[in-house]
Amino acid sequence: MMARGLWLLFALCALSPAPAGAAEPAPTETVQSDVSTREISIQSNFAGIEIVIFGSIDFSHALAPDEGNYDVITVIRSPAEPIVVRRKEQVAGIWVNRAGRTFKGVPGFYAVLGTRPFKAITTEDTLKQLGVGFSNLEFGKNAQDDATVAAYRSALTRLKQDQNLFQEHDDGVTFIGRSLFRASVDLPANVPLGRYTTDVYLFRDGHLISKSEGTLEVSQAGFERAVSLLARDHPFVYGLAAVTIAVMIGLFGWVVFRRD
C-alpha cells in the first residue's frame, strides 16, 4: 500500500505543470501554525501549563532541518492593560512609594521566541515594527514622557520577567524537519486571563516573507469562574454570600465544639 501511494504521488508530481528548474518563479513560501491548547481553563489546581506552538513552511526550499535558510519568530501576547509602576524612596527612615508612572498598554503576558538571536535574523527596524523583543515593546502613549520614564520602563520589564510574565528565548524555536518547526512556552500559574494572540513570522535571508496568526483563550472555569463573575457583576450578593458562609462556619464551630 505504502509503495503504491508513493508511486502515485511521484506520478502526480511528474504530471504537475511546473516542474523544478522551469523558467517560472517557484511559489513563495508561506507559514502555517497552530497552538497545542487553544483554550486554557484555570481551575483551583492550576499550577501553570506548557503550550506548544507548531507550524510548517509550505513550499520549503530547505533540504535539511539545519540548513539555515529560514528563520521563525513567534510572539505570544495577552491583552494590554494599564499598569502603574511605583518607586519607593526613604522618607524619615521609612520606605514610601513616592513617584509613579502609568503605562497605558502593557501586555499582561508576552513571550517571544526565535530560531536564533533576533538581531541576527533581521534588521532592527523590522523587529521594532513587529514588536519583537522587550526593548521594542510599545507600552502605550505615556502622558508624562520624560527622561526618567526609561528607568520605570526597565523596572517594569524586569519585574514582569521576574514573574515569568515576560519571556524572551532566542533559541526557543526548533526545526524538526525540512519545513516543520515547534516552540514551547511555559505559562506560569499567575497568567492573566483573556484572548491571547500568537503571531508566527517567517524570514528568509532577513526578509519577512510570511505571517500566520492565531489565538488562544485563557479563562477561569467551573467554580472559580462562577466566583469571580459573581464578585465582578454582583459584588453585594457576593459579599452577602461570603458573610453567610462565615456565619455558617461560626455556627458549625459552636455546635461541634460547644462546652456549655
Binding site: 492593560e81 521609612i94 514610601v96 523596572a155 517594569l156 477561569q220 459584588p235 458562609i245 462565615a246 464551630g253
Partner: protein
Amino acid sequence: MLQVYLPIAEVSVNLLVMLGLGAAVGFLSGMFGVGGGFLLTPLLMFSGVSAPIAVATGANQIVATSVSGALAQWRRGNIDLRMANVLIAGGAVGAFIGVLLLRLLRQIGQAGLLISLTYVVFLGAIGVLMLIESARVIHKARSGKPVPARRGSAHNWIHGLPLKMRFPTSRLYISTIPPLVIGAVVGLLAAFLGAGGGFIMVPAMIYLLRMPTNIVIGTSMFQIIFVTAIVTLLQATFNHSLDVVLALILAIGGVIGGQFGVRAGHKLKGEHLRLLLALLVLAVAFRLLLDLVLKPEDVYSIVPQLVGA
C-alpha cells in the same frame, strides 16, 4: 503541593499553609480570648497576599470566629443588646468611611504603607502597655503584696453629654455620643486593619463607659460580628478585594484551632497569658516596622491601574 488558585487575588497559595495559618491564629485567639484579626492580617501580608485583600479577607474571617464566641456569651446572658445596637450604628458609619478611605489610598498607591503604619502604631502601643501591666502584676504576685484592683478614673465630662439613654443590662444611664464615637472608631479600624478592634473596644467600654467587665466581652464580640459583616460587604462592593476562597480556608482552620486554643488558655494564669500576648503583638509590630525601615529588595513595584482611577 496542594496549590489552590484564589479567584479574586488571582494567585496560587498552598492549601495546607493557609489552613495552618488560620488554625494558628484561631489557636491564639482562643487562647487569649481575642478576635485574632490583628494577627491574621499581618500574617497574610507576610505570606504574600496584598494588603487590601488581606484586610478585606481578614474581616470576613472574624465574622466566623466571633459568631462562635458570641453564641457562648449569649447563653450566659453577657450581651447588652441596646448598647450593641448603638455601637453597631456608629460602626457602620466608621466602616463606610474606612472603606472609601482605603479605596482612595489604593488609587494613590499608599494603602499598604498606611495599613502597615497604623498596625505598627496600634500594636506597638498596646503591646507595650500590656507588657508593663502584666509584668507589674507578675512582679507583685511574686513579692507577695496584694494586687490592687484596677479602677478607672472618673469621667465626669461623659456624664455631662446630651442624648442620654438607659442601658438596663449594663446598669448605665449615659449619653449615646461616646458609644457612637467608639463604635465609629472601631468600624474605621475594622475596615482599615481587617481586625475586629476588640483591643480598642474592650478597654474603651471598661474605662470610658464603665460597663461591667462580664458584659463588655460579650457585647464587644456581638457587635464585632455585625461591624465586620458590614465591612466585608462594603469591601466586596467598593474595593473588590474580598477573596471568599481564602476566607473559607482561613475560617475552617480558625474554628478548629480556636477550640484547642481555649483549652490551652485554661492552663495558664491571666497575667502570664497577657505577657505572652504582649510579646506576640510586639513581635508582629517589630516585623512590620522592619519591612518599612529596611531597604526593600526592589524599590520599584508594579500594580494594575484600578478601574475608575
